[in-house]
C-alpha cells in the first residue's frame, strides 16, 4: 500500500539559510507519526514545506502518490492536509464558532459542516460552551483546542500539528494528547511535531528524529524509547 504522505529528499530554507536538507519520511494511512528533535532542528520548516507555506527547493512531496510540492497552500488544503501551525494562528477578533466554520473550505467540507462541527464539539465540549466568545479571549489550552478543531473542520486526510503542547500546563497537554489519540483512532492520519519528546513517543506509532535539518533516526516508538542516544539527548536519563 502506498504511503499517504511521502517526502523524498526535501530541501527548504529561509533566504540564504538552508533549514532542512534531504528530509525523507513516510506516513501511512491511519498512522500517528511524531517528528521530534530539538529547537531549530527543522521540524517547523518541514511542516511548512508540506503545507506549501514555504517553497520546496529540492526533492519531492507526494500525497497519495500525487506530487504536491509545487501547489499553493489553498490547493494543498483542498487535497486533504490540514495544518495546526505553531502559535495556533487563530482569528482573535472573531468568535470561536466563526474560527471553526472558517476551517471548512472545500465544497465537501462545507456540505458536511454541521455534522463535523458536532463531532468537534463532542471532542472539545469547552469549545461548545465558548462558541460565542472571541477566540482571542480564550486560555492557551482552549486556543489550542480551537486551532485543532478548525483544522478538523476541513475533514483532512492528514492532520499536521506543530508543537501543540507549547506553553500549556501539563494537565492540559495530557487532555490535548488524549484527544489526538482519539482523533487518530477515529481514522485521521496524524503527523505531530513535538519538542516534548517523552509525550510524543508516548503517543505515536513511529517517530522520526530530526537533527540539524536531517533525519538522524527513525523507528517504532518502543525502539526509540529504548535507544541510548535518544535517552541521553532528549529524555534526560
Amino acid at each position: 500500500m502506498p504511503a499517504l504522505l511521502r517526502l523524498d529528499g526535501v530541501e527548504a530554507g529561509y533566504g540564504d539559510m538552508v533549514a532542512i536538507r534531504g528530509v525523507s519520511l513516510e506516513v501511512a494511512r491511519g498512522e500517528l507519526i511524531a517528528l521530534i528533535g530539538s529547537n531549530g532542528a527543522g521540524k517547523t520548516t518541514t511542516l511548512r514545506a508540506i503545507a506549501g507555506l514555504l517553497p520546496c527547493r529540492g526533492g519531492r512531496i507526494e500525497l497519495d502518490g500525487a506530487r504536491i510540492d509545487r501547489l499553493r497552500p489553498a490547493e494543498i488544503v483542498a487535497r486533504g492536509i490540514a495544518h495546526v501551525p505553531e502559535g495556533r494562528q487563530l482569528f482573535p477578533s472573531m468568535t470561536v464558532l466563526e474560527n471553526l466554520e472558517l476551517g471548512a473550505r472545500t465544497t465537501e467540507a462545507r456540505r458536511l459542516r454541521t455534522g463535523t462541527l458536532a463531532s468537534v464539539f463532542a471532542l472539545f465540549p469547552r469549545l461548545a460552551e465558548r462558541q460565542r466568545q472571541l477566540a482571542g479571549s480564550l486560555s492557551g489550552g482552549e486556543q489550542q483546542m480551537c486551532a485543532i478543531g478548525r483544522a478538523l473542520m476541513a475533514r483532512p486526510r492528514l492532520l499536521m500539528l506543530d508543537e501543540p503542547s507549547l506553553g500549556l500546563a501539563p494537565v492540559v497537554v495530557t487532555s490535548i494528547f488524549d484527544n489526538l489519540a482519539r482523533i487518530n483512532r477515529e481514522g485521521t492520519t496524524v503527523l505531530l511535531v513535538e519538542q516534548n519528546v517523552l509525550r510524543a513517543l508516548g503517543l505515536c506509532h513511529r517517530a522520526y528524529v530530526l537533527e540539524n535539518g536531517r533525519i538522524a533516526l527513525t523507528g517504532p516508538r518502543d525502539r526509540l524509547l529504548a535507544d541510548e542516544g535518544v535517552k541521553k539527548a532528549y529524555l534526560g536519563r
Binding site: 489553498a74 494543498i76 482569528f91 472573531m94 472558517l102
Partner: protein
C-alpha cells in the same frame, strides 16, 4: 492587509463623473445610476489591487502610501484630461424637491442619499458577518497568515475586499453628485476626510467607520453653522486630535499601532 487607500477620494470623484456621464448621455438618474458606478469602481478596485497593491503587500508601509498617492494622481489627472477642470453637478429628479417636517426643512435628495447610504452600510455588514466570503475577508484582515494556513485564497480575498471598498465609494460619489458640485481636484479633500473618519472610528472597524462618519459630518455641519462655513474642518480635525490624544486606536479600534 492594512493598506490605506489614499486614492479613496479620487475614486469617489470618478464615481461622480460616471454618474454625470450616465445622467447626461443616457438620461439615467444618479439614484439608479449609482449601481452602475459601484460596479465600474469594483472593477477599478480589483485591477488596482491585483495589478499594483499585490506587488507591495510585504513592502514597508511608506511604499503603500507612495503607491496609493500615485494612483490618486493618475486618477485625478485622468479626470482632468477627460472632463476638464470646470465644476459639474448632476441633475436628478429629486434635486429640487423639499418638504417641511414640522419645523424642519428637508431636502429630499439628501434624505434619499442618507437612506441609501445606511442601507448600503447594512448590506456591507450583513455581507461581512453573514456570508462565507465576508467572514473570510474579516479573517484575512485579522490574521493573514492564519488565513493562508486554513487554505483561503488570500490574494483573491484581498482583491475582492479592495473591489468592494472601491464599489462603496463609487456608489457614494454617485449618491452625493446631485447636491455636491465636483471637479477633478476634489479627490484629495475627500480622501483626507475619509482618513479622518477612519482614524476617529478606529481602523478596521465597520461600526467605527459608520459612527466616525456621522460624528465628523455632524461636527462639520455644526461648525459651519455656529462658527463659519470655512471653519468646519477646524472642528473635525480638532476632533481628530482629541481622539489621537485620548484614544489613539480610535473609538472602536481594537489596539493601537
Amino acid at each position: 492587509m492594512r493598506v490605506i487607500n489614499f486614492a479613496h477620494g479620487d475614486m469617489m470623484v470618478w464615481g461622480m463623473y460616471l454618474a454625470w456621464l450616465l445622467a447626461t448621455r443616457l438620461g439615467i438618474d444618479p439614484y439608479l445610476g449609482f449601481v452602475g458606478c459601484a460596479a465600474a469602481l469594483f472593477v477599478v478596485g480589483l485591477v488596482v489591487q491585483r495589478g499594483l497593491v499585490d506587488r507591495i503587500v510585504d513592502a514597508p508601509h511608506e511604499m503603500q502610501i507612495l503607491l496609493m498617492l500615485g494612483v490618486a494622481l493618475v486618477l485625478e489627472n485622468g479626470a482632468l484630461l477627460a472632463f476638464g477642470p470646470e465644476p459639474q453637478r448632476v441633475r436628478s429628479a429629486l434635486t429640487l424637491s423639499t418638504f417641511w417636517l414640522g419645523p424642519l426643512f428637508v431636502d429630499v435628495a439628501r434624505l434619499v442619499t442618507f437612506a441609501v447610504a445606511v442601507a448600503l452600510s447594512l448590506a456591507l455588514y450583513l455581507f461581512l458577518f453573514g456570508t462565507d466570503l465576508g467572514r473570510t475577508i474579516r479573517a484575512a484582515a485579522d490574521n493573514a497568515y492564519g488565513a493562508l494556513v486554513i487554505g483561503a485564497d488570500v490574494r483573491r480575498v484581498y482583491a475582492v475586499a479592495f473591489g468592494i471598498g472601491a464599489a462603496c465609494v463609487g456608489a457614494a460619489g454617485a449618491l452625493v453628485s446631485p447636491f455636491l458640485p465636483f471637479q477633478p481636484s476634489a479627490g484629495l479633500a475627500a480622501s483626507v476626510t475619509s482618513f479622518n473618519i477612519v482614524i476617529i472610528g478606529g481602523m478596521g472597524s465597520l461600526l467605527g467607520a459608520f459612527v466616525g462618519g456621522l460624528l465628523v459630518s455632524v461636527a462639520e455641519s455644526l461648525g459651519a453653522v455656529f462658527l463659519a462655513p470655512s471653519l468646519k474642518e477646524l472642528v473635525s480635525f480638532s476632533l481628530l486630535i482629541l481622539i489621537l490624544l485620548f484614544r489613539p486606536a480610535g473609538l472602536f479600534g481594537r489596539r493601537a499601532g
